[in-house]
């Protein structure tokens, strides 16, 4: 095989004459084109993942929700959850920015891949944290409904339509639907995240594994 590879090497070096030749202006034009590299996509998707959960709070229906929380007597708990969420978000964003700055293309391949994976891992931890916080909020709400004295008062919209339903039945229906909604939302966001993560880094992960396997 060595002979054949050496034959290939000789041929390879002769092939230079057949390679395309780009002019100065061809190359000059290229340097202003937009990159479509994985690093750029990671930045875009990560920023989306950082901002999307917070944009949800800006929706009018979510703001109406605050009234409900007050009536359920859980607004203080949710305020604490919010403070924790935002402090953690800031921490994760700072970490992400630091890691992202470390990514350097002229690094050796293994270290470059490692840095990209670490940067992405920071976002992964943030997503897991966000999803846990969503679940925690849902649990606090379910508990709030359970201990609330007058549920019909907390959900005025429901009062008219559900007059003939017993208080207990309404309580459990609400707990089940809030809980169910929380689980579905968490699973859905989790799936979207892991799908994006998998697709984006599939090739890179494979190559990184291959380089690391050499060490064993």
């Amino acid at each position: 095989m060595t002979d054949e590879l050496d034959l290939l090497k000789r041929d390879w070096q002769k092939k230079e004459v057949n390679l395309p030749k780009l002019s100065y202006s061809d190359i000059h034009k290229m340097i202003w084109k937009k990159s479509s590299s994985i690093v750029k996509w990671i930045l875009i998707i990560s920023i989306l993942e950082f901002t999307l959960p917070h944009l949800l709070y800006l929706l009018p229906s979510m703001q109406d929700g605050m009234e409900v929380y007050k009536k359920l007597g859980i607004s203080n708990y949710l305020l604490i959850v919010s403070i924790i969420t935002y402090s953690a978000a800031i921490y994760f964003i700072v970490q992400f920015y630091k890691r992202f700055r470390e990514i350097s293309v002229p690094d050796n391949s293994k270290s470059l891949m490692n840095k990209i994976i670490r940067t992405r891992r920071t976002v992964k931890h943030y997503v897991i944290f966000s999803l846990s916080m969503i679940m925690l909020t849902v649990i606090v709400m379910v508990i709030g409904v359970f201990f609330s004295h007058d549920i019909a008062d907390a959900f005025p919209d429901l009062r008219q339509g559900l007059q003939n339903i017993s208080e207990e039945k309404l309580r459990f229906t609400l707990m089940a639907s809030i809980g169910g909604f929380g689980v579905v939302l968490t699973l859905f966001m989790g799936c979207v995240y892991f799908l994006l993560y998998g697709l984006l880094l599939r090739k890179l992960n494979k190559n990184y594994r291959e380089l690391r396997q050499l060490e064993i």
Binding site: E16, L19, I31, S37, S109, K203, K206
Partner: protein, 164 residues
């Protein structure tokens, strides 16, 4: 200052563009992808250029950025498997220079190399470029011993592809 940087960069890249073309030749199978990868490598080189201090040769630095772009950063992986037209352009084999068996052998070798994984291709590429194991190891971030081990495995792999 920026204009000067731009001019220096384009001139140096123009002089060394063969390196990038050769990486593109190994990692893509048609002209469109070749140009696409060439462009991405150029963008990555340009973005990293202000930090290039000349500790190493421009061409050495280029090998790293070009290979890293191909095996790590490049996203479009929808590659067509068989594109005869493209191969005949890039690997134009002049009939008068080679005897027929050698020509056939080379064609099979090129085909086999193209079937290798990204990392294996990077090693073969540097081998074909006459780089020593120290440089191969430094570029990929592995030890020299591991680079040798890997190269031996690739040789076995190529043998299996050629003689199934």
């Amino acid at each position: 200052m920026n204009k000067e940087l731009e001019h220096n960069f384009v001139t140096e890249l123009q002089d060394n563009q063969n390196i990038v073309h050769k990486v593109c030749t190994l990692y893509t199978n048609d002209k469109e992808s070749h140009n696409d990868l060439f462009q991405e490598i150029t963008i990555q080189l340009w973005k990293a250029y202000p930090k290039f201090r000349g500790e190493s040769k421009f061409s050495t630095w280029m090998y790293r950025v070009a290979l890293n772009t191909a095996i790590t950063l490049y996203r479009k992986s929808k590659r067509r498997i068989d594109t005869q037209d493209y191969e005949s352009i890039i690997f134009k084999i002049k009939a008068d220079e080679y005897d027929e068996t050698e020509e056939q052998q080379l064609k099979l070798m090129y085909k086999a190399v193209r079937q290798l994984g990204d990392i294996d291709k990077a090693l073969v590429f540097m081998y074909l470029e006459d780089k020593n194991y120290t440089e191969i190891a430094e570029t990929l971030g592995i030890t020299e011993v591991n680079a040798r081990v890997k190269m031996n495995r690739i040789k076995t792999k190529l043998k299996t592809i050629l003689n199934p």
